[in-house]
Symmetry: C2
Subunit: 347 residues, 2 copies
C-alpha cells in the first residue's frame, strides 16, 4: 500500500534508523549511504509520515497563526510576514516547516478551539495576531490555555495584541492608545471640536485602547466627550457605512469622523459621499492601520500606519527562536501618523 520508511530501508539495504538519519539530516551519515537512501526515496516516491514522526519525536513542524479575519488584509499582511520567517530549512524531516493560518472570525470560542487543536498537533509555535476579547471568562481561559502551551514547549507570540502576563507568551503589542490619541489630536489641531468616533466591536482590546487614546486627546484639549458622538461597530466596511448614518443622525453638526480602522473609515467615506457630503470639505475622516488600498479609496484619509509587515516578521523570528524576545517578553510597536489631506478644518 503506502510506502513506509522500512520499505525505503529495505531497498537501500540499510536499517530504518539510517534512513531516518538521512531524512532528518541531523546526524553523520556516509555520503555513499546517503546517496543510496535518497535514490531509494526517490524511486519509491516516499513521503514521510508526519503523524508518526511527530509522535515519535514528540514535536511537530507546525506553526499556527491565529487571525481574527482572514479576509482582512491587516491580518493577511501580518500572516504573510510571519510565514516568510517560518519557512526555509532548519525544521525536522525534509526541511520545511508548515505555517498554518487559522481564522477565528473574531470568535473567542473558535480561538480556544484552534489553540486546543494546535496543542493537539503539538505545534512548534503559535502566533496570535490582532486584538483580543476582553470577556473576563474568556480571558481567564486563554491565560490557562496559553500557559499550558508554553509549558508544553510551544513558543507563543502575541503580535498586535497586549501582553498576557504569567503565561510565558512573548508580546509585540501595538501602541493603539498612542495612535488613537495622535489621530484625534491631529483633528483637534485642525480646529475640529465635534468629532464622531466609530469604535470597534465591544470587549476588544484594540477597541478599548484606541478609544482611550481618542478620549485622552479630547480631555487634553478640554473638549467635551459627548456620548452621542461615539458608536460601536464591527471592523468591516458595511458596519462602518451603517454606523456613520447613525452618527450623522445623532449629531448632524459633527465636522470630523475618526474610525477605529481603515476598513471602517472606508465605509464611513462611502456613507458620507452617498449623503452628498464632501471629504474633507464637509467632514474630515481619519482611520487606522493604513492598509494598502485605503489611499486609493479615500485619498484624503488621515490614518496611523502600523508596521504590520515588520511586526509580523519579528514575531515569526521570535517564534522560530531566530531572534531573542524583547526584555521582559514585551515590546511595544508604534505607528506613524499619515496626514493626507484632512487638512481642512471644520466647515
Amino acid at each position: 500500500m503506502t510506502v513506509t520508511l522500512a520499505d525505503v530501508a529495505a531497498r537501500a539495504q540499510v536499517s530504518p534508523a539510517t534512513v531516518s538519519r538521512v531524512l532528518n539530516g541531523n546526524y553523520p551519515v556516509a555520503a555513499a549511504t546517503r546517496e543510496r537512501v535518497l535514490r531509494a526515496v526517490d524511486d519509491l516516491d516516499y513521503v514521510l509520515n508526519g503523524p508518526a514522526s511527530a509522535l515519535a519525536a514528540a514535536t511537530s513542524d507546525l506553526v499556527g497563526i491565529l487571525v481574527n479575519d482572514i479576509a482582512d488584509p491587516f491580518f493577511g499582511i501580518i500572516a504573510s510576514a510571519v510565514q516568510s520567517e517560518i519557512g526555509g530549512p532548519g525544521g525536522r524531516a525534509g526541511g520545511e516547516r508548515m505555517a498554518v493560518v487559522c481564522n477565528t472570525g473574531g470568535s473567542p470560542e473558535r480561538e480556544l478551539t484552534y489553540l486546543t487543536l494546535l496543542q493537539r498537533q503539538r505545534a512548534a509555535a503559535v502566533v496570535l495576531t490582532g486584538g483580543a476579547s476582553e470577556d473576563a471568562g474568556h480571558a481567564e481561559a486563554m491565560t490557562r490555555k496559553l500557559r499550558r502551551l508554553t509549558e508544553a514547549g510551544t513558543r507563543v507570540v502575541l503580535c498586535g495584541r497586549p501582553p498576557s502576563p504569567d503565561t510565558g507568551a512573548v508580546a509585540l503589542a501595538f501602541d493603539n492608545r498612542g495612535g488613537g490619541r495622535r489621530l484625534t489630536e491631529h483633528l483637534l489641531g485642525l480646529g475640529h471640536r465635534r468629532i464622531g468616533y466609530i469604535a470597534g466591536p465591544r470587549e476588544r482590546t484594540t477597541t478599548r485602547h484606541r478609544l482611550e487614546g481618542h478620549r485622552a486627546a479630547l480631555a487634553a484639549h478640554g473638549v467635551e466627550d459627548d456620548p452621542a458622538l461615539t458608536v460601536h461597530s464591527p471592523y468591516d466596511r458595511r458596519s462602518g457605512y451603517d454606523t456613520t448614518g447613525e452618527l450623522l443622525r445623532r449629531a448632524p453638526d459633527l465636522t470630523a469622523i475618526a474610525a477605529s480602522n481603515d476598513t471602517v473609515a472606508l465605509g464611513a467615506c462611502a456613507a458620507l459621499r452617498d449623503k452628498g457630503l464632501r471629504i474633507p470639505a464637509d467632514v474630515s475622516v481619519a482611520g487606522f492601520d493604513d492598509l494598502p488600498f485605503s489611499i486609493d479609496a479615500a485619498p484624503a484619509l488621515t490614518t496611523v500606519r502600523l508596521p504590520l509587515h515588520e511586526a509580523g516578521a519579528r514575531a515569526g523570528r521570535i517564534a522560530m527562536g531566530k531572534e531573542e524576545p524583547p526584555p521582559g517578553g514585551v515590546a511595544t510597536v508604534h505607528g506613524e501618523l499619515m496626514v493626507r489631506g484632512s487638512t481642512g478644518g471644520p466647515r
Copy 2:
C-alpha cells in the same frame, strides 16, 4: 509529564479503549461510563495527542487550503468560506476539524512543498484556490502530486482553478475567459477602440484566460489587437500603478484600460489620477473580481463580480463530502458584470 489517554483511563477506572471510544463518540458507551470518562478528561485537562491519533487512525482532521496571496482579499474571502463549511462536528476525536491555510505566494515550488507537507500530515482534504502556473514541468509535477493525494484518500478540490484531468480532483472553475470577454465588450460597446490591457503575471491560467477573453472581444468587433496595448503585471496594486505608466507612454491615445483584476485596476486608477487624468472622463477603467473595497477606491470601476464566497463554500462542502461533486467532477462558475459609471465613451 503530559497526561495521556492511559492516565484518563486509570482515573476513570476504565480501559484506554473505552476512553478512546468516548472521545470519538462513534461507538456505543454506557452513559454512566461516559460521564466518568468525561469528568476524568476534565479533571486532568487532557488533550488528545493529534499525531498519535492520526497515526493510529491513518487519517487526520486537517484540511489544507492553498492560496496564492494571503494578503489579497480575493483569497481571504474564498478561504473563509471554505473554512466555515469545514468546521462543525463530524470530525474525529473531539469534534472540530482544522482548516489550515497555506500561503504559496504564487510560487509553484511552494505550492508543491505545501502539498507534500499536507500529504505528510495525511490531510483529509485539500482545496487549491486561484490561478495555476502553466509551466509545463510544474504542471506535470502537480498532476502527479494531485493524483497521489487522491489515491491516498485525500479529497482534492480546485476552486477558481481549471480542471486537472485524470487526477481525481474536483474542479470549480471560474469563467475567466467569458468574464474577460464581456468586460472588453462593454468598453467596446461604449465606443472605445484603443484599450490598454494590463494582463496578470505570465504563465498563469487566469492571466491567459482573461487575456483570451479580451482578445476574443476585440476580434469579434474587428478591432486591431495592438501588442503595444498589452502589458503584463503581477496581481498587486504597485505593479498596476507602474505598468499603467508604461502603457500611457506606449500609447498616449488610449481611452480605456482593462486590468486583470481589481487590485491592479486600483493601481491603474491611482496612476491615472497622479498624471492628472480623470476617470472615466479621460480614461475608462475596468477591473475584475469586484473586491469589497474596490467600489470605494474607484466608484467608476466596471468589473466582473465572481461569487467568491459561494464558490468557496461549495468547495468546502465538496471537500467534506457534504455535497456531491458536479457531474464529471467539473463545474464552471460564472461572474456577473458590474457596470458602474464607466459609462463615458472615448474622449
